[in-house]
């Protein structure tokens, strides 16, 4: 199971880095924020990203994908973490598309996946119902008869939920756990965009007896619980890869600052206390890099290892993102807390990523449970 990138993967990383640094630097996120952009991302940028194939890196070729593997996708996500790029890549092309891939029937996959692969269709997974990630607790319900399902409930913290054209709503039904593909303008579906601290997008949904044909239920009448868990783990690892990029970027900027900033007649990077703190961060970054690469490789090569590694990755990246961004602000000193510097954008995105798909408490508990204690 590879823990080093091969040449094609390195190439993908380099081209994505070049593209993103040029076309979607942190300044682009600032602009979206300052203009209170209603979509929450640049549509033309997303078109370009999709054009380059980023929305279908891991999809099987049968559905219009490149089948290039998750280690490859991780290269792209890491770079989007470095630039804090807002796009439907994670919510639609990773989380949404893998939910359909695992839970959908063959015809549903053929119907949706190729359009997600081209970026033409954006989807969002509506799962959480309270302020803490708890995939086992679903209050949302669906009443099914032979032809229709009537879905009622409330969803929160749905990433890209305000802009996605198709919502994948998780609900309890007579078959177990159901996932319903609901087009954005279905009657009874209310979407409330939430303005989050990271200047990215999320929404709260209210479903008042939303009625859809039963054919919109993913997987026919199968219980979707296991499929959902698999999709979530892929999402957790993908998000961890993005967070790793975020951490690396903010840490590199901090180390660079330590080399240029003078205090008391010396470069602050020469102060041993700061050196040791930076070195400890570097050590943790090395561990996290191994964990993320292993997790992504396992998706392709050793699926049985995925649940444990996904929780390992998300728990550690959560903690590292908190630590690294706090140190970045502290080591930048006064200017670190001004909005003019971009450090604050990393700090804020880190907090949202930390809550998404499970905080450290959730994943440490899950790791222990999966380990048999």
């Amino acid at each position: 199971m590879p823990l080093v990138l091969n040449e094609e993967q390195r190439l993908l990383r380099d081209t994505s880095r070049e593209f993103l640094q040029r076309s979607a630097p942190v300044a682009a996120l600032r602009a979206l924020r300052d203009e209170r952009n209603s979509l929450g991302y640049q549509a033309d940028l997303w078109a370009e990203m999709a054009e380059m194939g980023w929305a279908c890196v891991t999809l099987p070729e049968a559905y219009g994908g490149l089948d290039f593997g998750f280690l490859g996708l991780g290269c792209v996500l890491e770079e989007t973490g470095r630039t804090l790029t807002a796009s439907p890549l994670f919510a639609s092309a990773v989380l949404g598309s893998n939910t359909i891939l695992f839970a959908g029937t063959e015809s549903q996959k053929e119907h949706y996946l190729p359009r997600i692969a081209t970026g033409e269709l954006t989807v969002a997974l509506a799962l959480d119902e309270s302020h803490h990630h708890a995939p086992a607790d679903t209050g949302c319900t669906a009443q099914c008869n032979d032809e229709h399902a009537v879905i009622s409930g409330r969803k929160v913290f749905v990433a890209d939920g305000h802009s996605a054209e198709l919502l994948l709503v998780v609900a309890e039904d007579q078959y177990g756990l159901g996932i319903y593909a609901i087009p954005e303008n279905t009657p009874g579906l209310l979407r409330e965009r939430t303005v989050m601290v990271d200047s990215r997008n999320a929404a709260n949904l209210t479903l008042n007896a939303v009625t859809v044909p039963l054919s919109q239920r993913l997987g026919g009448t199968e219980d979707c619980a296991a499929a959902l868990e698999q999709a979530l783990d892929r999402g957790r690892l993908a998000l961890s890869a993005e967070m790793l990029g975020l951490v690396e970027e903010v840490f590199e900027r901090t180390v660079a600052y330590l080399k240029e900033r003078e205090q008391f007649g010396a470069l602050i990077g020469s102060f041993q206390a700061l050196q040791h703190r930076a070195a400890q961060l570097q050590a943790e970054i090395e561990l996290c890099r191994s964990v993320v690469m292993q997790g992504l490789s396992a998706i392709d090569d050793a699926p049985e290892q995925v649940p444990l590694t996904a929780s390992l990755a998300k728990a550690r990246l959560n903690d590292l993102a908190e630590w690294a961004t706090n140190e970045a602000v502290q080591m930048h000193g006064g200017i670190g807390v001004t909005d003019e510097l971009e450090i604050g954008f990393f700090l804020k995105r880190a907090r949202v990523s930390m809550q998404m798909l499970g905080d450290t408490a959730f994943h440490r508990d899950r790791y222990a449970t999966l380990s048999g204690y």
Binding site: S130, R261, F271, L274, Q330, G336, D339, R351
Partner: protein
């Protein structure tokens, strides 16, 4: 100076009675930013009760209880002042007047100012006629205060000031600013610094606001372009401003250490947040054992810090020296950061809202305060500086 506990008890009763009679009910609840009265020519009372409350306290001399009567104080001792504070806290009485003049410049003038400076400025502070800004930090100087560049050239009867100051809180609404300026480049960096009082309305003074990661802020950058400052506005000796500044820093650190208990916004405590945002099992325990453990850790830390504040006070009263006061700024501001991160963890996605109706005011405030908390371990002597000071002054470790 010390009082027998009987005298103290009598005084406490007196304070309690007076407050009961004079503090309007509306002034007996925590003040959010909009409820605060900062005085100054551009300041206004948030409400008629606020005016009444301020005026009664001012007339009683309790706006600055330890200051001499001729400057608007009540000439009380530290224990009495503390009793007033405690009794006000007991009924949640609001601080009638906020301001750096009251908290920082006043004590410094009492120690270092000459009679005419005291007469000019202290009563004006108590009467809320002048609001003061602080001009210490400069862009690029950070914790290294002694390296400041803002220059004041000596002329016959005035100084000519050029340069800029950063983090000048609410400078756009202040009347005066107290500044550290460089009056000489000879000798060590700390030498050649003077402490100057500058009228913000002087020609050549301008300010621009700074936006922070927590959003718009009260902080400004203030520019001095050939500003003429009369020589009598020099506090202490020429080139000896460092000692005035150091005395002031002590007040600032105390302020920062206590800031958690005196925050301008209504702050939810992690324990309250846990009641609201976490679940309990049927024995009354929080089901999220990780957050329960972190909450207990935080509560224990604050419990210990609170006891240490009390110990510092008792030691001061008893004339006992200990290292405790020197560690409080470090501990207090770090705990404030811990608290904010813990609140976010407890609130989960509800603690991540930036604006809009999807979140309650309390949630939005929590997030903004979280962002603000990052500045606490930087401003007023960073945590690194605090640790350096402990290593040097308490542990007497060798310096390089």
């Amino acid at each position: 100076m010390t009082h027998s506990s009987a005298t103290a008890d009598a005084f406490r009763q007196e304070v309690r009675d007076w407050l009961e009679e004079n503090c309007p009910q509306s002034q007996r609840q925590p003040a959010v930013a909009a409820d605060q009265f900062w005085g100054g020519r551009s300041g206004s009372f948030p409400s008629e009760d606020a005016r009444l409350w301020y005026e009664r306290m001012r007339d009683k001399g309790w706006v600055a209880p330890e200051w001499p009567r001729e400057y608007g104080g009540a000439a009380l001792d530290a224990q009495q002042a503390r009793i007033i504070k405690q009794e006000m806290k007991r009924i949640n009485a609001r601080t009638p007047l906020y301001g750096l003049g009251l908290w920082m410049l006043g004590p410094a003038l009492l120690e270092y100012g000459n009679t005419s400076q005291k007469e000019q400025h202290l009563p004006a502070i108590v009467k809320a006629e002048t609001r003061w800004a602080q001009g210490y930090s400069e862009p690029g100087a950070g914790s290294d205060l002694a390296s400041l560049q803002c220059r004041a050239e000596e002329h016959d009867d005035h100084f000519l000031v050029n340069g800029s100051k950063i983090w000048t809180t609410a400078a756009d609404r202040c009347d005066w600013i107290f500044c550290l300026v460089r009056t000489s480049t000879e000798g060590k960096k700390q030498e050649g610094i003077s402490f100057l009082l500058i009228d913000m309305h002087s020609p050549g003074v301008s300010t621009t606001p700074i936006e922070l990661i927590s959003g718009e802020s009260e902080f400004c950058q203030t520019f001095f372009d050939n500003v003429k400052v009369p020589r009598e506005n020099l506090v202490g000796e020429l080139n000896k401003g460092w000692s005035v500044a150091k005395a002031l820093l002590v007040h600032e650190r105390k302020l920062m250490a206590e800031i958690g208990s005196d925050s301008p916004r209504k702050v939810v405590s992690p324990r309250e947040a846990a009641e609201q945002y976490l679940q309990k099992d049927d024995t009354g325990k929080l089901t999220n054992t990780e957050l329960r453990s972190q909450l207990a850790d935080y509560d224990m830390q604050m419990h210990a810090i609170g006891l240490t504040h009390m110990r510092c006070f008792e030691e001061r009263q008893a004339g006992v020296r200990s290292p405790a006061p020197l560690v409080m700024k470090y501990l207090g501001t770090e705990a404030e950061k811990t608290k904010s991160e813990l609140l976010l963890k407890i609130m989960g996605s509800r603690g991540l809202g930036w604006e809009g109706d999807s979140f309650t005011d309390e949630e939005l405030d929590t997030l903004r305060l979280w962002a603000m908390s990052k500045a606490m371990t930087i401003a007023g002597g960073s945590s690194e500086i605090q640790l350096n000071v402990i290593a040097k002054s308490v542990l007497e470790l060798p310096q390089e």
